[in-house]
Symmetry: D5
Subunit: 150 residues, 10 copies
């Protein structure tokens, strides 16, 4: 029985510190393991179980200890963090849903029928769009439509 | 002094019932007033002040009473609706932010610097993506990057 | 423009009073419209849009006004009702999830992989099981497994 | 006086890590102690006092320390974990109750009378149902009806 | 279809006003319908469905309208009232549970085993105990022990 | 200045573990110090200051360290534990107050006048009542009536 | 059965408007019914049942309708008003308790023993103290000490 | 740089334990430093910065370590403690404000004008009033009236 | 007794609609009654009692009914509106305090001593600052320092 | 990989203690690094990433360890601290927004149009204003107006 169990969240923080110390960007790390960048950041910070091949590769790139590599592979608890939701950078996303969520619901029902956009069969893309009046953050949410189906 | 003040939220509900009774989709209505579809739904349901020219045009299309047309133009309170946030169709968007919000924060800081994606200088696009394993909802959030700037 | 808009929740209450006055059980009503019983109760009380054919048939059986029949067909807001959750009959279900939810999560991940039981592609069955020491309520939740799939 | 008191929750985590390290599934473990699988997972993670014979047997199978075996047998506090309730895999169960709880209450009262489904004289079954369009999670809640009885 | 549906809570308030106007105590009313006094007050204020024979008798005693007598018989929602819980007379009961609840849990487990005192197969008795230093309120909670029983 | 200050809650947990290890029931312990059993459990778990004579006696019976004996005598903070209130065994008591609290308030006012049942000049009795259909938990709350008295 | 039941809170508001319209101060009104001023304001605004003699006298002074006079005499619900607690004039009192409550608890225990200051056998006095640097509000809380007494 | 930083709250607890061990009452301590007793208890438990002369004197009287004496002098955070507010001895003060706060607001406005009683330019006095029917706690709040003044 | 009591909040809404209908800005209205602009808006929307001379003048300018003019003069409840606090325009102010509040506290203590900035002896100024990269909102909070003074 | 990771909040506390021990005011420190004073306090306490040149300079001035200097430069989580918001010195700012926030919203919309004052492109100034009746705290919030712009 292992005496060095590390929590996934702690593993993610250790990984992140190491990444910063090595001067590696998230995007470079994502490219090196050939995975989408938002998935990579979320997974390495503890929101997804990292497949063994990716976890081992990240461990090699960053010279992580085995228990960190092991923790990355474990199944997560994806607990909503009420504190984090007040960070201004994160809050703007929730505010956008508070303002436009009803409109999105109307359009999903109008164009797809009664149901939801899955947050499980789902991906997020992140891009930087250059613009003369200031660069723009472009986040694309892409989820399978799931009809209410008895 | 007007004795027929209608609340913006009530005005939006009357408008929506009328729209459904006439068999007009949100997308058709948006095209007729030549405005983006998510903006149109949100604004007509009370989340934005509707410019006079658009409000009057919508009033003509749907044969709305003057006080409804007037209410559409008023400045809104954009109150977050805690009940609505539990509707499954809306909840999935908040859940996605709960799962991926930290990753989006990391990437904004990595690629843009310390700051936020504006939810004010901001647009949302909604699209239906056909796919063999089931159609997909594609929602694109596009906001100007605002650096913390003293 | 209709001047007799009835809220779906109010429509459900009118329907329910009428059903009780006529001495018709939910199960009989479900059979007459040939739909599953839990779906029927939930939908007629406002949690689902009722297909036109079912709504019209229910309207005939219960002699409901047109605006009630119309309200049944509208798209619902499925808002979580914090008050209802404290009713002892409803609370026991939440308590069961509080006690066994972690175990269900462990087993879903063990036997299906990383993902969820859908609450959308989902049905609920309700049965009475006779037993010598007292009858038992048997509720079966049946949802499609959705793997986290990027 | 023992100086090695281990919390039941901590004992469950140690047990789980050891189980994973040994490559033993929950279902295999449940079979080896001849107990239902949902009960086994819940109890070993700290939600029930484990009878001595089962605790000792689990201790042998997993080579657990005595204080872990002892902790498994203690009476638990079954505190509702508000954080866990936001994990998407667990949340779907609460959402299902939010959507269908009122219907279940109606049917319990209609078919059994005024009362509740016990969450104490109660069992949960978990099964995997294979289906051409994707496997399904089947969770059966089975509780004794308790009439309000003065 | 009845057009005079009265809410159970409203029915209870009408009943109570009428009772006070007639100068009838709760205890007298309970005796006249031959039911326990705490049950009678709770049920007539809307916490229980009142059996038809009792509801009709109360209606006669207090000359209540038919829709009130009818409302008394309906199945209740027993929603916890967070406001009421702050009334000093009610708060003291919750405070007593906050102070002594853990001790009651210890003793239930010690003397009965793992389980609960049912709040459904349950009665409450209320008595006035005369004492030289001031009369005392004596409330007896009597519930069937329900063992956790899979 | 003492360097071995133990928190009252921690002292109670040490005491309880020791008690269990010695196979002594709460009731036996209460008899040995000649105090009511609910008071004894509550006080030894930290809800009351234990008089020196009782604390010393308990220390002797259980061979507790001096700082534990000392902690038992300190004045407590009787903080309401929101987590504990969700434990099913404790929750049923709060639920009973939620269902019957208004009735108790009505009867207190009817039979005593405007005022409360004291939770300070107050005792709780716990008993096991044998019954053919299952043993019953009987909890008696006995508090001095305190009239609102300016 | 009375058809003109007025809520105590509403009765208090009607009374207050009438009082203001007549230019009568609370202190004058208290003197005219020979009751303490804080009691008078609280009771007439619905926090206490007003004895018949006082209610009738107030009704005469202010020419109140009978149903208002009747409402004043009813037993109140003394619900804590979370909104009112944020009014700056009321908030300062709660803030004072937040800052000094622990000190008051220490002193009550030191000088009286384990127990509380009753809020039931309790009076509040309000005075204006003139001072060169600005007048001062002096509020005196006077409650019977109640020892924890089993 | 000091390596022995002690938190003000921790400093207060150490001070209090030492005080109790030495058998010194709060009132005696307050007299020895010639400060009001409620201020003394609050300040020494961490709610106020203690002037150096008082902190040093208390340190001498109780033989406190330098870092405790230093901590007493630091500026506090006066965070409202939601747990403490549920302690029965503290709760009664908040309950009194919940019941009489509106009346105090009315009287402040009537006798002083629109404004508040300051909780900053403010003192609290604590006294024991002997009475034949039981001693009374007398707490006097004395705060400067501050008019809303633009 | 007046039968036309209007709530201050409702009075403010009527006033505001009338003002908009007349095309009068808040700033023009403030100038016409010679009061600061932020005070004027807040007071006319119900946050302050409006002095009679100002209320009457506003009534003349806007041709308001007497009961509106009367309501403006009444003492307000200044209840914090949790919904309004989520409106994006208002939220940014609370966010600024969440980010900079601790720094403001440090500086108040450093430069003034232990105490607060009064929110009662307090004014707010609002200005538009033109700037090449976009106009700026300048809000100046000006409150008397109040030292903790026993 | 660094084994001496310090949290930004902890780094801020160490820095502050060192600053106090050295008798350096925040304003002096701000001047020495030539940055605005409110920014300096907020940033050094962990609310902003401190540019390397400023962090190194502060490290020299205060002789801070390298890991503290490093922590100062990291990207922060700007979590709203609900406890801090109850500190009286901080609370007054939130109260001011609760009282005047609606007025500020009205004026922003009237003079700028539909939009917000940015809390990101934003600065805060702090000044002491001497006045004969007591010095005043003057806090100036200065944020770029951001129009809702699709």
């Amino acid at each position: 029985m292992s005496h060095n169990i590390i929590d996934k969240i702690d593993a993610g923080q250790i990984l992140n510190e190491t990444r910063l110390a090595k001067g590696l960007t998230w995007r470079e790390l994502a490219e090196q393991i050939d995975r989408p960048v938002v998935w990579t950041v979320a997974a390495l910070l503890g929101k997804h179980p990292v497949p063994k091949v990716n976890a081992v590769r990240v461990g090699e790139i960053l010279s992580l200890d085995d228990e960190v590599v092991s923790a990355l592979q474990r199944q997560p608890y994806r607990i909503a963090d009420a504190g984090l939701a007040t960070d201004p950078t994160v809050y703007r996303f929730h505010e956008a849903i508070d303002v436009y969520g009803q409109a999105l619901k109307e359009l999903i029902h109008e164009e797809f029928g009664d149901g939801i956009m899955s947050a499980i069969n789902f991906s997020v893309d992140f891009a930087k769009q250059e613009a003369p009046q200031g660069d723009r953050v472009v986040v694309t949410l892409n989820g399978k439509f799931l009809p209410y189906q008895w």
